[in-house]
Each structure stands twice: as C-alpha cells, then as structure tokens.
C-alpha cells in the first residue's frame, strides 16, 4: 500500500470522510483563509487607498446602486465609501495573521517550557507548573488584556501604533501557552522514565535527539487539537481586543475593528456595515472550532 | 428441561462497527437449574461477560441481542420493556462485578446504597430496611456491621468491599446471581474466602449462581456444572467432575493442562499454542482449528454444533460426531 492509500485508509481519514461537519468546516475555513491570503488580488477595491475612495459612495446599501454615484457594491459600503467586501477580505487577513502568529508563538513557548519542566523536573518544574496553575485559573482573554495593557505602558506613546500588532500577538500567545506545556511535560516525564531513554542517556545520545524522535511525535495529536482550538480562541481574542479598541491600530482594521465600526451605525439603520463582518468572523471562528472539536473526538474515540 | 431456572437458547450478540457487524456471541445455549452453580470459563474475549450482560439486560450499545431467547422460569425476558426488565434486575437476577473498588458509589455510605436497593424492591420502611441491611452485612462477614454500615466505601478494604457488593447483589433475594470474575481484582489471600461466601450464601437462599471466571481451579472447587466458551460459542458443557476428569473438546483438554496441581510430578504446564482469533477474523469451520492439534479436514469445512454426550453434557467438536469419527482419528494418530 502506498503512502497515500495508507493515509486514506487510516481511522482519522475514515472519520473525516464520514463527518459532513468536518468536511464543510474544512472547506469554509480553507475558502476564508485563501480569500484572505489572496485579498490584494481578489478584492474588487483597495479599501486603504485613500485616493480611490469617494465619500459620496458612503453608506451604499448592499446590492443597490448608490444614489449619487450609481456604483453598486455586493455588501454595500461604510461611512467612508469603502467596499465592505474588500474590507472584510483585508480584515480577515489581519485577523488570521494575528491568530496564526499567536498560536505559533504560544505553541513554541509552551512546547519549550513543557519540555524543560518535564525533562529537568525539580524546582524548574515546580516553578513553571505553579505559574501555569495560577495563569490557568484566570481566563486567557483577561491575561491577554492585562499583558497588552502592561506592555503598552512600557512602550513610548510614539511607537505604540507601530508595534501594536506585535504586542497583540505576544499578549495573546502568552495567554495561551499553558495547555501545550502541560501536555508536553506529561509526555516528557513518561518518556524520560522509560528504559530505552535511560539507556540512550547512558550511552550519550544527545537529549535533543531523544526529544525529537520520541517525545514530540507522541504529543503531536494533542498539540494539534490544542492548536486548532487555540487558533479559534486567538482569532476571537484578537477580535475582542480590537472591538474593545485596544487591539490592532485603526489603520489596520481587523474583523473586530470592522464590527466595532459597524456597531456605531446600528441605530441609524446601516445594518450591513455590522452584519457582514460579523458573519465573516462567526464563520471563521465556527469552522475552526468545529474542526478542532472533530479532531479531538477523532483522536480520542473514547470521548464520543 | 422445562424446570430450568434460566434457559438461554441460541443467544446471538452482535456489535455493528464501521467495518461490518461483529458477532461476539454466536448461537450459545445452556440451562441453569434452581440452586445450581454453573461455572462459565474461557479466555478474555470469549464472550463470558457479554453473556452475563445480555442475560441481565445491560449490554452496552452498540452491542445488541440479535437472536435467540433468554427464559427465566419459563418467562421470556430478552424482549421485555425497559421498566419490566428493571424490576427483574436485583429482584430476580443479581449481579456481582469484577472490581469492588469501582462498583460502589464513592459519595454514598454503604447504608444509603443498601437501603435504597432494598426499598426499591420491597415496600418497607426505612428503619426496617436498615435492620435488614445490618443483618445482611453481618451475614457477609463485615465485623461490627451496625457501626460500619454508615461508613463510606473508601473506608473498607478491597475484600470487605466485595463483601458489601455481594450484600448489595443479594439484598433483594434474587433467584439467580451472576458473578462476573468476582475475585480477579482481589488479593490472592481473600479470593477463596469470597468464592466460598458466594457459594454458601447462595446455597442458603437457594439462589443459583452463574460464576464467570477464567480460573479453572475456582470452577473445580465451586461449580456443579461448567460451560467452556471459546470465541463466542460453547465448546463444551457438562457436570464439572466429568469435564475436569475427562475433558473431551481439545480446547478443554488444553485448559486442563494449564492448571497447576500439587500432584503433578512433572512440573510442566501445557500452554495452548496461539491466541483466540479476533472477532473480525474468525476462521471458517471450527473457530479453534488453527490451534487444535487434532484438527482434520472436516474442522476447516464446517462449524461443529453441540453434540449430546451423555447426561446433560455436550461437546461441539467433530471428533465426537457419529459419522465415521473413529476412522478419521485413527488415520490421524
């Protein structure tokens, strides 16, 4: 059996083929990710090119011609005449960038600290796990908010806009490393006590090799599940912070920023400015969440 | 055999899975007489516990009874509704599980669990139920029962907990007790005490016992009759003395060879080569044929049905079929 056939026949693939939810979620997530990545090429307008914006186009309802200019927009326009569809594509790009970057940051940090704690044990382990316990008892969005607030305090006001997005990534990443660390620490402790590892250490095999060959492969499943659900959480965290007005700068609006803007026009009847970015965010978060949920069940059939 | 307490006829239990339906129990029949102790032996996966679960109506989904009948005193119980079956459980058929450490609810005292069970099946007052519970605990050998009844399960040792479990299984005076490996999880030192207790107390009350175990030694000491299960089928069933002294099915012969005895001067235990087939790979013909030293071509062609061999004894093996078995065997030997 060749490699592809083996993958196709595996339990995971079988479970995937028989889960309409997982298939639809994957397709939706892929479409959104692709559309976001390709935004500069597929967006009908560049919403950040102020030269192409016409204030007369403002508040055009979706699918109807503007009363002054006669231009028609699929999802309408916002107060400044920006095409909502295009802002969503660019906004999703920022949301996804922050989400993926935060997850990667959290994953690297969590795996690193988890290995350190599990492998070294002793006070390093106690200290890290105590910190993890304390952090875990607070909701991650609050941790992210606090880290963000503290970090902003240390950064001179002139630079805040510029580095805001990186501060945001680090804040969200730092709020979410604990679960990776716990899983990896557990696996490291189990493997460390096994005889072949003891033997390998005696004959001088580099610890890095043991870690790469034996510990990491064992935790790939759980880490993947945590990362998938973590991506949904990171996207939601970013949207929340941006909605609260403390996330990405207004010059780089993410989906959360767009919803914040849209909320202001709710009472004056321009519902489309709010609705379409909300749907985009919901679809993105939901599809990633569903994927994570399915993955967890598929890797751990006992939970079904 | 109409006077049998429990009569299982052609029982079939299936598990639908993604790769097709697995038949875990295939055409199993046996009887238990009132007051009789029937030992059920076999390797793990032979279908012993499933048979017990099917009788008491607690097969876990997706497992299901796909055929056959289970009769309790002539009344069919395998097709009863949930509520009617619930009334039979505990009241007419009791069950003792393998692990006493996990069989008791940790958040309730022993008294609470006993009284609740007694009052589910008998319309008596709390005080009356408590009196019965204390007496029962005393009977199963809990010292200072009146005081210890208000303890939580974790206050008892494993052996003591299994005594509590037995008390719970018997507290509504069932006619049949299914004991599913009741001593496997216990210390060797208390195993025989628990087996003796089950035997005694059931004899006292006239309750029949279906004793599920993989320990032939326990069967030899305790059971009146024994059913040997292999791969979801009855290989051999009969009075325990006959089956042990003169086993007929090659599998039973193998099982006997694996019991250590003090009298064996050649201290060699014979193990049966190979392992029981998995449910999705049961060979054609007799399921035992890959491991059987005496298998011949008929064993690979067709499945042997249980053949009567004297008084209430049956063997499912072609070696004992009337059609020219002797000639075949001579040719083989």
């Amino acid at each position: 059996m060749n490699r592809f056939a083996r993958i196709w026949d595996s339990d995971i693939a079988w479970s995937f083929r028989h889960s309409p939810v997982a298939i639809v979620a994957t397709i939706v997530a892929l479409i959104i990710i692709l559309a976001a990545v390709l935004a500069p090429w597929i967006a009908p307008y560049n919403p950040f090119d102020s030269a192409s914006l016409n204030l007369m186009d403002g508040f055009t309802p979706p699918g109807e011609p503007n009363q002054f200019t006669g231009n028609t927009y699929l999802m309408g326009t916002d107060n400044q005449g920006r095409d909502i569809f295009s802002t969503i594509l660019y906004g999703a790009r920022i949301s996804l960038f922050v989400g993926f970057a935060a997850v990667i940051f959290a994953m690297v940090l969590g795996i690193g600290l988890g290995l350190l704690a599990g492998w070294r044990g002793g006070w390093v382990d106690s200290l890290l796990m105590r910190v993890a316990d304390v952090q875990l008892s607070f909701p991650s969005i609050l941790i992210a908010l606090l880290i963000f607030g503290v970090a902003r305090g240390f950064i001179p006001p002139s630079m805040r806009e510029e580095v805001a997005i990186w501060v945001l990534i680090v804040s969200i990443g730092l709020s979410d490393w604990v679960q990776y660390a716990r899983v990896v620490r557990g696996a490291a402790m189990v493997e460390k006590s096994k005889e072949y590892v003891q033997a390998a250490r005696v004959i001088g095999v580099h610890p890095a090799r043991i870690v790469l060959r034996h510990i990491l492969p064992n935790v790939m499943g759980p880490v993947l599940v945590i990362a998938t659900i973590g991506l949904a959480l990171a996207i939601i965290a970013e949207a929340t912070l941006s909605f609260l007005g403390v996330g990405v700068p207004p010059t780089q609006p993410s989906l959360g920023t767009l919803i914040r803007i849209g909320q202001q026009y709710l009472f004056s009847g321009e519902w489309w400015i709010l609705l379409f970015p909300s749907i985009a965010l919901l679809l993105l978060a939901l599809s990633v969440n569903l994927l994570g949920d399915w993955l967890r069940d598929a890797l751990n059939p006992r939970l079904r | 055999m109409t006077d049998a307490l429990l009569s299982v006829r052609n029982l079939r239990v299936e598990f639908p899975t993604r790769r097709g339906v697995l038949t875990a129990i295939d055409d199993v029949s046996f009887d238990i007489m009132p007051g009789e102790v029937l030992g059920v032996v076999g390797e793990s996966g032979a279908g012993k516990s499933l048979t017990g679960a099917a009788i008491i109506g607690l097969l876990e989904p997706p497992g299901r009874i796909a055929g056959g009948e289970i009769m309790l005193k002539g009344q069919r119980i395998d097709n009863l509704g949930a509520e009617a079956m619930r009334r039979i459980r505990g009241k007419r058929i009791g069950m003792v599980f393998q692990d006493p450490l996990t069989s008791l609810n940790p958040l309730y005292t022993v008294a609470q669990q006993l009284i609740e069970t007694i009052r589910t099946h008998a319309d008596i007052s709390e005080a009356e139920a408590r009196k019965r519970a204390v007496a029962l605990l005393d009977r199963v050998g809990i010292p200072a029962a009146a005081r210890r009844i208000d303890d939580y399960p974790h206050h008892f040792s494993g052996g003591m907990r299994q005594r509590v479990v037995i008390a719970l299984a018997l507290c509504a005076e069932p006619e049949l007790v299914i004991a599913d490996e009741p001593t496997t999880a216990l210390d060797v030192s208390v195993q025989s005490q628990i087996i003796d207790l089950i035997k005694e107390i059931c004899a006292e009350r006239g309750a029949a016992v279906m004793l599920i175990t993989h320990d032939m030694g326990v069967i030899a000491e305790t059971a009146d009759r024994v059913a040997v299960l292999y791969s979801g089928r009855v290989a051999e069933i009969g009075p325990v003395t006959q089956v042990i002294t003169a086993p007929e099915h090659p599998y039973t012969v193998g099982l006997m060879g694996s019991i250590p005895t003090l009298t064996q001067d050649h201290a060699r235990l014979v193990a049966i080569p190979g392992a029981m087939p998995r449910l999705n790979a049961i060979p054609q013909g007799c399921a035992f044929n890959p491991r059987c030293e005496r298998a011949f071509d008929r064993c690979f062609a067709a499945r042997p049905e249980p053949l009567p061999r004297g008084d209430r004894r049956q063997v499912a093996c072609w070696l004992y079929d009337a059609v020219a078995p002797a000639a075949e065997e001579k040719a083989n030997v």
Binding site: S278 | L58, L107, V165
Partner: protein
Amino acid sequence: MLAYIIRRIAQSVLVMLVVALVSFALFRFVGDPINSMVGQEATIADREALRDQLGLNDPFLTQFATFVARAAQGDFGISYRLQQPVMELILSRLPATLELALVSGILAFTFGVGFGVYTALRRNGWLSNTIMTVSLIGVSLPTFLIGVLLIWVFAVELQWLPSFGRGDVVSVGGWPTGLLTPSGRASLVLPAITLGLYQMTLIMRLVRAEMLEVLRTDYIKFARARGLANRAVNFGHALKNTMVPVITITGLQLGSIIAFAIITETVFQWPGVGALFINSVRFVDVPVMAAYLMLIALVFVIINLIVDLLYYVVDPRLRVDRAATRH
C-alpha cells in the same frame, strides 16, 4: 482539616503577594508617575521634591512594603485620568458589576446544568443534537458579538429592551440596585444573557462530558444491575458524582464572569468596574489598572478558596485522603 485550610490560605496570600508585585512594578515603572501628576511647567527641583515626598527614592523593598500596606487598606492612589481616588471609583462601580455577574452566573449555572444533564441522558435525541450544535455556535461567537447582535435584534429592530446603561437604581442600605425597578430589570436582561451565554455553554459541555464519563463507571452499571429506578440512577447516583468536578470548574467560572464583564460592560455601556478598567488600559491609567488587577486576583483567590472548601464538603473521600496526601 484545619491544617489544610491554613495551608490553602497561606497559598492564597502568596498568590496575592505575587500579583501585588506585578501591580507594584506596573505602578512604579510604567511611565513616570511624576509626569502624570505634575504639569509640564514643574521644575526639576519640584519634581525631585515630589519624588522624595512620595517615597520614590526609597529602596525597592521599602517601596513595595509601603505599596502592599496601603493596598491592604484600599489605598491605590489617584486615577491619572479622572483625578479621583482609585478605590472610591472602584467601589462606586462595583455593585453594578457584581449584580450583573451574579444574575448571569445564576442563569449560566441553571441552564448549563439542565442542558448538560439532558444532552448526556438523551445522547442521540434530535433535541440534544440541536442543543449541542447551537452550543458550539455559542462557543464560537465572541461575547461582544453576541451582545451587539442582541442589541440589534431586541433594542434596534424590536425595541423591546434598552441597549445601554443600568436604568433606574434605588439604594438599599447603601447598595445601589437595579433589580427593584422595572427599567433596572429591563436593562439587565440583555447584558446578563450576553455575559451568561458563553459560560452556560461551557458549563453545559462540561456537565455533559462529566456525566457521560460517570454513566460509564462500574458503580453506575452496578446500580442499574440492582434494578434501581432510572431516575434514582441518573439523578441520584450519576448527577451527584458529576457535580463534584463541575462545582470546581463552575466556581472558577464565576471569576471568569467578572473578568468577561469587561467586554459586556463595554458593549452595553454598563457603569461597572470592567468598563472603568478598559478605559484605564486605553489611557494607560496605571493606578486604576493596578487596583483592578489586585481586585480581580482577590476575587479569584477567594473563589478558589470557597470552591476548595465546597469540594471538601461534597466528596467524603477527601475528608480523609486529601489532607493526608497533599504535600
């Protein structure tokens, strides 16, 4: 038992000290407190005098001790932005947040446990599947979006409920409550649902998972084998065992509710401490941030303590084991 409580309290104090250190570092090193307090025209000598007066030139430990001592008395200094004592600000806004959190918590717990038990018992029923699907959408919907959508439907389109503020409040023994006025109650509905929905889905999924786990245990099988009624097995034996872990996590959720109130309060312009905190983050109003941090930590520590004690009451095994086996 007593030793256990004392150890838990000691741990709590330690956590509070660590949080105090973070708060203090924030307070002391973020920006220059002097800049925030004096105008541009102050001379260097003026500033130096103020530094001395405020103790900013003292050794680190002395300053930290002073900070902790003052914090313990509720003195967190003056808000840079609002120029009022921080504690006064927080205290005036705390009732609004607590009232919101409490109502949402009760909503979340009641419906969470109810739906969780239902979906665990009717595992493959269509209603269970519907509830589970909706709950996944609920988990994926960010809290702020739930709030905004609720405003759109119930405040803008249907105009049934107010979209912001707390309505009329009456003071009961110095505690301003909105629960006793019609407009106060109406104003509470949408924020309470917004805040409670996410927690409800979490509790529900947790209850369901725990209950399924418990239903698989031997003691439940044994209870069924003894012929106990379904109701007794499901709601007596299974539910009680389910509630042990659920109580812990739900208790901790109460802390999350107070933290998530930040978002809800912003969406509904609810005059609570969360909205105060968000503004302090936006304007880098350090004293308010530091005080909020300490307050939240205190709330979490107290809840943790209560949950641990509750656990002890519910699970008889812990009464002997835990005190002995915990190191």
